[in-house]
């Protein structure tokens, strides 16, 4: 399992309930494509129609917001930790 991806509750219907899944890729874009192959439907929840990360989705690579790295081109290596976090959800 080259990369560990933490999946938030609202997306676990795509991962058979798993909160952590493995994925592979040289950069974040590849990892998302790999996620989509194994868990169809995930990509559309993460990326908009222009292929950019949706405004309300935050993706962290080893704890750093990828918006402050190289977005989808951020390089990924074995053992990296990716977290997908919705901007916020739920009642106030």
């Amino acid at each position: 399992m080259p990369v560990r991806v933490r999946v938030p509750t609202p997306l676990r219907k795509f991962t058979a309930g798993a909160g952590e899944i493995g994925a592979a890729g040289a950069n974040l874009k590849d990892v998302i494509e790999d996620l989509e192959r194994n868990h169809p439907g995930l990509r559309e929840r993460l990326l908009d129609e222009n292929g950019q990360i949706r405004r309300f989705v935050n993706i962290y690579l080893n704890g750093d917001d990828v918006r402050f790295l190289d977005q989808l081109n951020s390089p990924v290596k074995d053992g990296d930790d990716i977290s997908i976090v919705p901007a916020i959800a739920g009642g106030r």
Binding site: P10, R55, P86, G91
Partner: protein
Amino acid sequence: MATISPSFLRLPAAANPQPGPGARALSVLDLIGNTPLLEISRLTAGLLRPGVRIFAKLEGFNPGGSVKDRAVRKMIEVGLASGLLQPGKTIIDSTSGNTGIALAMVGSALGYPVELVMASNVSQERKRIIAAFGAKVVFSDPLEGSDGAILRCRELIARDPQRYFKPDQYNNEANPQAHFETTGPEIWHQTGGAISHFIAGIGTSGTLMGTGRYLKTRDAAIQVIAAEPADAMHGLEGLKHMASSIVPGIYHEDQIDRKVPVETEDAYDMVYALGQVEGLLVGQSSGAAMVAALKVARELRQGCVVTVFPDLGDKYLSTNLWIGWKAWTPLKLKRLLEKL
């Protein structure tokens, strides 16, 4: 369907039973409610049939800055009256923001300590406002969303149940009751009874349930409509996608006439539009409410559509809401409307 009196905006001040701005108050608690109703006219110009109007109840004008002031005041009042809240106890709840601010404000005004559990990804502004009122904040896992905060709060109470009073906004009937007693009558009065459709976002569902219930007692034909995130994965802070969430005990789906799904990105774009076209800076839940209100209003030949803007936008300036606002143009509003 009720017809709209063009004169209802010109009602004499004396017709308003509550003290207006400028009245003297003994406590900030007395300043809660009686918020303005604004007609959304510039943004809707040319989009609606002549007999259709949209109004927004501006709950950001409450002293704590949101609609939550109403529910919190009522829940604390009922807690004190029942003896469940008494000196020596700490007020605790799970909240991703506005309820926390309201609890912190009311706790401070009444001299009760407050502890709040929230996902650690709520906006910096909110954390700081809550801290400024002297409340203690406990963080839960952001991956678990507001349901994670609910569960963490339960754990804390289980460790020392006697110490805490939990208003429990999701299951406390005082929450919708606050809206039955204040928001509903205010809207009825402010529209001169002309309201035909009431639309609100659902988080705890208190606003929708209580206000809707009151309005139906005045005119059973009034349509009560929920604006709901279109998907479980959304970015509409304050709102719940019911099918994938812990359903609040106060939520009764049979009391709603209809649900309108709202995409997060449409709500964000609507926030930009309200700022740049209407001169109104609001949060994303207001954007969602406006998207739903426009969708409903555009279907009508005649009607008075009222929605609730739960707060203003200053608390969200550092959040994801504003990613991409520079790309906004009036053309985006046009495209959004074509989609509705």
